[in-house]
Symmetry: C2
Subunit: 120 residues, 2 copies
Amino acid sequence: MSVTLAFDEQELLPAVAQDVDSGDVLMLAYVDREALEATRETGFAHYYSRSRDELWKKGATSGNLQRVAEIRVDCDGDAVLYRVSQEGGACHTGFDTCFHRTLDGEVVGEKLFDPDTVYD
Amino acid sequence: MSVTLAFDEQELLPAVAQDVDSGDVLMLAYVDREALEATRETGFAHYYSRSRDELWKKGATSGNLQRVAEIRVDCDGDAVLYRVSQEGGACHTGFDTCFHRTLDGEVVGEKLFDPDTVYD
C-alpha cells in the first residue's frame, strides 16, 4: 500500500461501503490491517467485527457479498471507502442500506429480504 | 429525535457526508450531541473536532459550507449520514472529496481550490 494509514489506538479504521452503481451509502463498519488485506486479496469486502472480535467477510452467512471495485482512503488516512457491487441488501435487517432511517425515524430505505429466512 | 443513538465512550458517532446531487462520499468526521443538534437547528453541517476539541461548523473558515438536506441514522444507531449540498470542495486539501485517493495512491478526485488561498 502506498498510502499511509492512520489506524486508531485499537488498530482500526472506519470503513464506509458505497454502492458503485447507485452511489448509495450502504454501511459503516471497521477494518483492521488484516481485513483490509483480505479485501485486497479476495476482491470481497472484509471488516473487523468489534462485537465478535474477528475477521468478518461481509455476506459470508447471508450471501449478501460485496464485490469491491475500488478502495479509497481519505486525506488524513484515517478512514477508507469501499466502492462495491452489493449482492442483495447490505443491512442485516433486510434493507438495501443500513442508513434506511432518518434521524426522525422515517423509513426511507427499501426492504429487500426477510432477515428471518437468511440468518439462523 | 425519535431514533435512539448509540454514542461511543467518547460520546461521539462517526458521520459520513454525502453529496446529495452527485452521490459522492465527501468526508468522514465525528459528531457529538451538540454538533448534531447544531446541524438540525441551522441546516448546516456541524461536527466535533477531535483535534481542536470543539464544535466545528464545516466551512466556517473556508466558506465551503454543507447545507444538510437529510440526516440518516444506521441500523445500530452508531453512525450518521449527512446528505448535503456542498459549497466548493469538501476537502481541506482543495479536492472535491476527502476520498480523492485510492489505497494505491492514485489520485481520482478533482482539485477545486488552492488551500493556500483559503486557509491562513
